[in-house]
């Protein structure tokens, strides 16, 4: 790109010649170059010369507005030279002193939904749901590739804030439930196995079932109820309020802006919570067992350590990852398909929870039968 401006130093002033358009494409550069000039000490006067400048858009006007306020703040004089009529008109956009704002009561226009529309929507919904699901996953993956190859970026901070929302939300309840589950299993295990004189095997039982099955499952069910429902409700609300359409008309892809951050966040949160749940569950189980059998807890942990292979953890974490994706995709899909009035948001939310729990159990069964050991 050619230089957007050249600078001519005079004893106590600076003359800046703008070249070409001062618009979205160049505003960043011009701003970066003007800022140090306007702040330089010893300069009493800044002249911005528009003789060779082209069109100015809002971003250009904003840049000039900022220069003007620095100059005012630092007691410098600013002169805008050789403005043509269009440039002068554009610069008149700079806000005048605060305007008086009149307030009114809001009135909302509610468009009725006829019974026919509801029925039609149902039928069309069933017919196109599968196609829409595939399209959603494909579009999200495509945006994921664009982000991974740095041709697009995620909204700043979106993944982090989603991780915090999903993770901290679920943390307490996951810990509590996993602990209680472990305690129940430990207690049951001890009573049953002790009769066979095999009390110490309770460690194998608790370890294996928490790591491979119950840890991932309990986290998935809680995530489905909290996070999956939240995703469907958030996206559904945005859909109903035309916010998703608004994104689309701005040329911002909703898959990248809304779904991808949630998918990435749950990819971290699902396995993360699963690890926590697993350890807390094993802790609860061994605690009960050690009290009941009057053996040190360390003995159980050692046994679990011997019996469990890295493969068992991989098995559990792999499942928790798939569960997490099922939840995020079901929530996003059903949320995005909400349409019309706010009741559809409620429906989308309920359906998201039921669908994802169904999907999780289905996948779990399939994985148990056909999956790798």
């Amino acid at each position: 790109m050619p230089e957007p401006l050249t600078v001519e130093r005079e004893p106590r002033s600076v003359r800046v010649h703008l070249h070409g358009d001062l618009a979205l494409a160049t505003a960043r550069d011009v701003y970066a170059r003007l800022q140090p000039i306007a702040r330089r000490r010893g300069v009493r006067k800044v002249v911005v010369d528009f003789a060779r400048a082209g069109r100015i858009d809002s971003s250009g006007v904003a840049v000039i507005g900022l220069v003007r306020s620095w100059c005012a703040r630092h007691d410098k004089q600013l002169e805008l030279a050789s403005l043509d009529d269009r440039q002068r008109a554009a610069l008149e956009m700079l806000p005048p002193p605060a305007a008086v704002v009149r307030r009114t009561l809001e009135e909302q226009v509610v468009e009725p939904v006829t019974a026919l529309e509801v029925v039609g929507e149902r039928v069309a919904g069933v017919a196109s749901a599968a196609a829409a699901l595939v399209a959603l996953v494909a579009a999200t993956l495509r945006q994921g590739v664009l982000v991974a190859t740095r041709r697009r970026r995620l909204p700043a901070g979106s993944v982090g804030s989603q991780i915090v929302a999903m993770g901290f939300d679920g943390m307490f309840i996951v810990t509590l439930l996993a602990f209680l589950l472990g305690v129940t299993m430990g207690f049951q295990g001890v009573t049953q196995l002790q009769r066979l004189g095999a009390g110490v095997f309770v460690a194998d039982m608790i370890g294996l079932s928490m790591v491979r099955e119950l840890g991932p499952l309990i986290v998935a069910i809680i995530l489905a109820g909290r996070t999956g429902a939240a995703i469907a409700a958030e996206l559904g609300t945005m859909r109903v309020r035309s916010e998703i359409d608004a994104l689309a008309t701005m040329g911002i892809d909703p898959h990248r802006f809304l779904i991808l951050p949630r998918l990435l966040a749950i990819t971290v949160v699902g396995p993360g919570l699963t690890l926590i749940a697993t350890f807390v569950g094993v802790f609860g189980g061994t605690l009960v067992a050690s009290i009941a059998l009057d053996m040190p807890m360390a003995a159980f942990w050692e046994r679990i350590h011997e019996r469990l292979a890295a493969g068992d953890f991989a098995h559990g974490l792999a499942k928790s990852l798939v569960f997490a994706w099922i939840i995020a995709i079901a929530g996003s899909h059903l949320g995005m398909r909400a349409e019309g009035d706010p009741t559809s948001v409620g429906q989308a939310t309920t359906r998201a929870v039921v669908t994802s729990i169904f999907g999780i159990i289905l996948f779990d069964a399939a994985f148990a039968v056909w999956g790798p050991g």
């Binding site: 960043r28 900022l66 009114t104 909204p155 609300t237 359409d245 008309t249």
Partner: protein
Amino acid sequence: MTAPLLACRDLVCGYGRPVLEGVTFDVGPGEIVALLGGSGCGKSTLLRTITGLLPPLAGEVRVLGAPIYDLDAEARGQVLRRTGTAFQQDALFGSMTVADNIALPLRELTDLPEPVIREMVRMKLALVGLTGFERRAPASLSGGQRKRAALARATILDPDLVFCDEPSAGLDPVVAASIDAALLQLRAVLGMGLVIVTHELESIRAIADRAVMFGRGTLCAAGTIDELIASRDRDVYTFFHPRSA
């Protein structure tokens, strides 16, 4: 005359079944065109089609010269970025402040530095008469204020063409007039073309250069406002002289 900002040719739009058929009209640079017609006649549907949200069942739409439905999503996005849309519901993001709503296209689509973005937001808020509303939540605004905030967001990238669905529906005449004023002010400063869906006779008289009227599933009249007011066509006459019917 230069190429039209919007060109519709024998457009049929609807949801599976046609809602509107035989829609042919243009919007020229800097022109304000009103889309008129009774409630439910398909104005919002047409608007969805010309803003790239609902593919037409037949016919052609060119936005800023580009046949948007023949382009891939990426290229269509590029064209749509040069337009702005204010929805019938304001479609402000409830979880963001007014300023963040308006700044969103800038933050997402440009690499402008933050101070410039804030200055641009301040400017656009001033243009729509909402100076000082930066940090408010959309839920705390009145209906008219929300519409004007949505207008500021729709015009933040200095679009060549802006679409507004019922900007003053459900608002009292004073607030409605303030929205008309904001639209005129934006056009004066940005030189953009405007397509407005509205029922408000006052508003049409005040700001539209031309109007296109729909009824009975098709385009039934088009012309300058004066031509339409003088028209003897029954539907048009009834619309412009509601009390005489």
